[in-house]
Structure formats: C-alpha cells, structure tokens
Amino acid sequence: MMKIGELASLLETLCPMFVLLDETGRIRQVGPTLQKLRPDQPMEGTGFLELFDLIRPRAVTTFPALMATAGGKLHLKFRDEPRTALKGLIAPLPGCGGAVINLSFGISILDAVRDYALTSADFSGTDLAIELLYLVEAKSAAMEASRSLNLRLQGAMLAAEEQAYTDTLTGLKNRRAMDHILGHLIQTKSRFSLMNLDLDFFKSVNDRLGHAAGDYVLQQAAKIMLEETRGDDTVARVGGDEFVIIFKGLLDSGKLRSIADRLIDKLGKPMSFEGAACSISASIGTALSTQFDAPTAAGMLHAADLALYAAKRDGRSCHRLYCALSHAQQ
C-alpha cells in the first residue's frame, strides 16, 4: 500500500488542484495551484467545508454526507471573496477514511486566470485549459472580424436600398418607392390623398434646347415640389415628366386645391437655362382615399389620372379633383 506522502507527491504531478482530506474532513495537503488561489491563507489544517461552500448537491453540509457523493460531480465556491466557482470530484481513500478531491475551474477559468494571474505552469500538461483560453481568444477575434464585416455590409445594404428607391436625376423618390409607400398606406388603411402631376410642354423644351436643359427643368421642378409639400409627404418621379405626390392624412380639398394652385403658379414661371427661357406648366389631378369604400393602389392612381385628364382637357395649367359621380356618368 502506498504511503500518504507518496500519494501526495504523485497527485502534485498529476492534479495541481487536488485536496487530500483526513478522516475528519480536514485538509491534509493541497496542490500548488489551489494554494495559489489563497496565497496568504495556508489551507492545510482547515476543514474542507469551512473553506468551500457546496452549491450542488446543496444538502451536503457534513463530511460524511460529502463522502457519500463519491463518484458524482460537485459544484462549489470559495466562502470568501473572490468566490470563484470550482468543479470537483471526490474519491474516498481505501482503508483510512480520508479522501482525495480533485478540483478544476470549469467555466470560471476565464475569470480565474485574470483574478489569480495563472500561467501555463499552473495547469497540468493534460489539462485543456490553455487550449480553451486559446480558442476563446481566437474565436473572439474571428467573431469581431465577422461582426465588423456585417456592420459594413449592413451600411452598404442601406445605401443600396436608398439608391434603389431614389430617382438619381432629381433626388426624388422613384416609382418603386412610390409603389411601396402607396401599398403600405393601403395595407394599414391610412387616409391619404394622391396627386398626379404632369409637366406640360416639357417635351418641347427637351427637343428645342436639348437634354441638359430638360434635366435642368426637371431638377428645378422637383425642387419646387419639395418646397411646396411637407416633410412627410411623398414626392416621386414616376415617368419622364410625370410625378406623384402623396399626402398622408391630408383630405381637406380646400387645402389640396391651394397647394395645387401654388404648384401650378410656381411651375408656370419661366426658368432660364444658359440664357435660354424654358417655359413649362403643370396639370394636376387629385384623388382622396376617402372617395373609395376600399381604396386600392391601382384605383387611386387611376382616379387621379382621370382627374389629370380632365385638367388637361380644360386647357392645362389647372387642377381638378376626382369626382366619383361624374366618372360614373361617363
């Protein structure tokens, strides 16, 4: 039979966090790494359960009860600060009533190496602690690189979406964006009005003075439309010289009429491009979602279109409200 002293030196090599207990549950000897956790407090002679608080199984408060857990996993903590959590396994010593408990850090290893300034030498050569620490750092670095890539991709996606919803010439929303917003308003049963605005004589500016002049006129017209609408209204260029303006929550036909009149007035003022006068005007048709029992996107656009035709028929440079009754009579 091996002597206790020989056993202790064997354990020191194999398990640097061992605890050798006598038959009363007092600590006879501990491994160097375990002692390093409490450098000013020699553990030898102390009762094991005075030093450690058993977390699981919780019912264990006496040494005989502790011995009865042999073979099962123990979860314990230091009773004093820092209350590092440890895992343990107890094996009774044959014949003499004492026991060996082997402890390890488990998941608390990350904090433990910092709190106690542990080094590779504090772990047994077969312990996976160093590999675990390596993996945590390596994976964190890889995760950080992936996370920053994700952030950049998200930024790029937002920029691409913004681009996909923007008319690049005027900076207004495009047809896609308008369809999207209109669909959303219908889906949420919001009340809104919709203006169809056509620039009259735009084609002749384009033909007479060239595309640069045409582009300039479109940009000026877009500017005017933004100035005459509220921030949360939607101004979209949906065709060459066709625009749609959506007014969420505005259904007062008097107010809509005065907005339309101001737009027509401002768009009708001659613009000057490189010394040449570019004269256009605007015709506007407006429909209100409240004019329908169950408004649809196509129905609203069609109604505003009919009102726009009426405005063009009536000599351009004017505004007409969609009238359900007159349409039904046609």
């Binding site: 990350l110 904090d111 433990a112 190496v113 910092r114 709190d115 300034a117 542990l118 080094t119 590779s120 030498a121 160093i130 620490l133 390596y134 993996l135 750092e137 390596a138 994976k139 670095a141 890889a142 690189a145 992936s146 890539l149 950049r152």
Partner: protein, 195 residues
C-alpha cells in the same frame, strides 16, 4: 484565397510603406476595390498578382518582402491579437517551436476555412532544429522565417535562422537556438484584458 491572408498583406503594406503604395498596387492589378475583407474568400490568383505588383514597385525580392510581412504579423501593435494566439503555443521558445506542428490545426479551430500548409519540426541536436514547410501556399516558408525571428525576440531568445531551400516540394528552415533566455522578451499573461 482567404481574405485574412490578403488582409495581412494590405495591413503590412499600409503600416510599413503607406496607403498610397497599397493603392498603387491595387490599381496596377486592376482590383476594382482597395479593401480586402478578412472574412471573405477571394480568387486564388489575386494574392500573387498583388505581391508581384508590390515587389516590382518597391524593387524588393519577394522572399525578403514576405519575411518582413511575417515579422510585422508578430511585432506590430496592429496584430497584437495574432502574437497572443501564437504565444499560447508554449511557455518557452522551444515549446513554441514544437507547437508549430499543430499550427495549421489550431488555425482551423479558430477560422474553419483558413487552411495553412502543414509544418513539421525535427530536433537534430539540442538547440538545433529543422522546420519543414509543406506545399500549399507559395511563400509560406518566407513568412514563417519572419514569424520565427520575431517570436524569438518576443520570448527573449537568441536564434539564428536560415532558409535552406527545398527538399523536393518541401521547404526547409534551419533554426539554431543560441540562448533561450538572452533578453527579457515581452510579457504574456494568459488572462490579459483588452484595453
């Protein structure tokens, strides 16, 4: 080619020769972008073309350039994370040398699609080692020579290194450890907290 490799080249060039030098190289090879993403994969020929452009621009032989890259990866503050991961290999320089056998497996544990060639260390006599670099990544042995040199400084060891050419497809680096505790070396704490 893994983005981490291209990114390492980019980081080294920007830190050492300046961003304009890097931009010139990306333009020469017609890359169409100037930033490699470390976690994406790129065409396998891109790295070689970039290296050709850089070495021509800097008028430096490729092996020398790559050795400096290896030194940069260990010694520059930009790549402190990498130095720490390498230091996990062992407490002493000799332990570190022996850990190189596992390097490609360790790398794969961290980034599963980054495949580095196998390395094999043989100890011919105490303090006299040979490192065999297996094929798979052209120039890897040059980078490793730089890494080994910088890691020796990191551990405070005095070594002599030489690239001894090839045995078939395997490239050979010979390492002579003159003194393992020549200087203080740099600190390494297992549980270093990030600033």
């Amino acid at each position: 080619m893994h983005g981490l490799i291209n990114r390492a080249i980019q980081s080294f060039v920007c830190a050492t020769y300046g961003r304009p030098c890097w931009l010139r190289a990306t333009q020469t090879v017609g890359l169409g972008f100037s930033e490699f993403e470390p976690m994406l994969l790129y065409d396998v020929n891109t790295s070689g073309r970039i290296l050709d452009a850089l070495c021509a621009d800097l008028k430096r032989p490729r092996a020398e350039f790559l050795e400096d890259l290896g030194t940069y990866l260990v010694s520059h503050p930009n790549t402190e994370d990498l130095r720490r991961l390498l230091r996990f290999g062992g407490v002493t320089y000799i332990e570190f040398l022996h850990s190189l056998d596992d390097l490609s497996d360790r790398v794969r544990l961290a980034v599963s699609d980054l495949k580095l060639p196998a390395l094999e260390l043989t100890e011919n006599a105490p303090g006299d080692f040979t490192l065999h670099c297996f094929p798979g990544l052209p120039g890897y042995s040059s980078v490793m020579t730089g890494v080994l040199r910088a890691m020796a400084d990191d551990y405070g060891a005095l070594v002599m290194l030489s690239h001894d050419g090839c045995q078939g497809e395997v490239e050979v680096i010979s390492i002579t450890l003159v003194e393992s505790a020549f200087a203080a070396g740099r600190r390494f704490e297992l549980g270093a907290r990030k600033p």
